[in-house]
């Protein structure tokens, strides 16, 4: 085995790692919260509540998990605004694509047989 197996990497003694130590606690807490939310989501779908209510809660929890991972695990809140914009642009276009498709393929305007892959009943 080489020396590199045992020795830490050379870092300047002037580097302050207190920020990294604080992040450790944030990461642990966030991991616990994310695991708990996943458990709640699993239980929630079996509860006899109103469908719209469960749908709203599930989407909200999912959005929270999504934003939390981006903000803390991916360090976006610690990084420059330009990185948020770079990623946000893609995200907005993706959301826009879904919204546009939802309207374009709305069954109110398009008959099922006009949609590729859909075989109407009786054919």
């Amino acid at each position: 085995m080489s020396q590199a197996d045992y020795n830490p990497l050379p870092v300047s003694p002037a580097v302050d790692h207190s920020g990294e130590n604080e992040k450790y606690h944030v990461f642990v807490n966030l991991a616990l919260v994310l695991a708990a939310i996943t458990g709640v989501e699993l239980v929630l779908v079996y509860l006899p509540f109103n469908k719209a209510f469960i749908f709203t809660v599930l989407v909200s929890l999912s959005m929270f998990k999504f934003v939390a991972v981006i903000a803390w695990f991916m360090h976006l809140i610690y990084d420059k605004l330009m990185l948020t914009l770079a990623f946000g642009t893609g995200l907005v276009i993706a959301a826009g694509t879904y919204t546009a498709l939802l309207f374009l393929f709305s069954t109110d305007y398009v008959a099922p047989h006009e949609i590729p892959g859909i075989i109407p009943p009786g054919m």
Binding site: S2, Q3, A4, N7, P8, L9, P10, V11, S12, H17, E20, K23, Y24, F27, A31, L34, A35, T38, G39, E41, L42, V45, Y46, K51, I54, F55, L58, V59, L61, S62, K65, F66, V69, I70, W72, F73, M74, H75, D79, K80, M82, L83, A86, F87, T89, G90, L91, I93, A94, T97, Y98, L101, L102, F105, T107, V110, P112, I115, G117, I118
Partner: protein
């Protein structure tokens, strides 16, 4: 010239104080968002216009298995964040421990996906089984390929750490970029888990 400006002059691959590798990765992830956005949209749109094609909640989706996969992927993200943090502190042994954990969890996730796909095929859901089969396998399969690429990338990094060529700053950025990719794979699954699996079970 100020110290900051001099530092930027010396470090030619930096622009606007953001590391180019990180900026490129974020731009790539933005474009990958559009890619997965279209895959997920296609699945949801076909599900909406053809809701009676198949009911995946009956003898098909196993919510317990998928929740377990989600939990595993979330925990791998946690370990990846710790690996990046360890690299920033120059703690190579801690970095290796965490990366091995990420690789292990990633392989468990892939194993669960392979098991799930095998079960589905036995139950009659194939790639050519209507629009549901096509869009479902394309979307989750593409995600699985992303996970596999991430695992391969991390295995390469793990072995590279034994060459002794890693240095605290440059390698920390490289690990952070790999970490961004891995976290992205995680957030895509968070969306797929909710909109493809959980929502199907509401009111069942």
């Amino acid at each position: 010239m100020s110290d900051t400006a001099t530092a930027h002059h010396e470090d030619g691959h930096k622009s606007l104080i953001i590391d180019n590798k990180k900026l490129l990765m974020w731009l790539f992830l933005g474009s990958d968002c559009m890619f997965f956005g279209t895959l997920i949209s296609t699945h949801l749109i076909y599900r909406k216009i053809n809701p009676t094609e198949i009911d995946p909640t009956v003898n098909l989706f196993s919510l317990e298995l998928t929740s377990f996969s989600t939990f595993i992927l979330l925990m791998s993200s946690f370990l990846m964040a710790l690996a990046v943090s360890a690299m920033h502190k120059g703690q190579i042994k801690s970095f290796r421990r965490n990366v091995i954990g990420v690789i292990f969890f990633g392989l468990i996730f892939l194993g669960c996906q392979v098991y799930e796909f095998t079960e589905f095929v036995h139950l009659g859901l194939k790639l050519d089984t209507g629009t549901f089969g096509s869009t479902f396998y394309l979307m989750t399969g593409t995600h699985g390929v992303h996970v596999a690429i991430g695992i391969f990338w991390l295995i390469c990094m793990y072995f590279y750490s034994y060459t002794g060529k890693m240095d605290a700053h440059e390698s920390a950025v490289d690990v952070e970029v790999a970490g961004l990719y891995w976290h992205f794979v995680d957030i895509v699954w968070i969306i797929i888990f909710t909109v493809v699996y959980l929502i199907e079970f509401i009111g069942k």
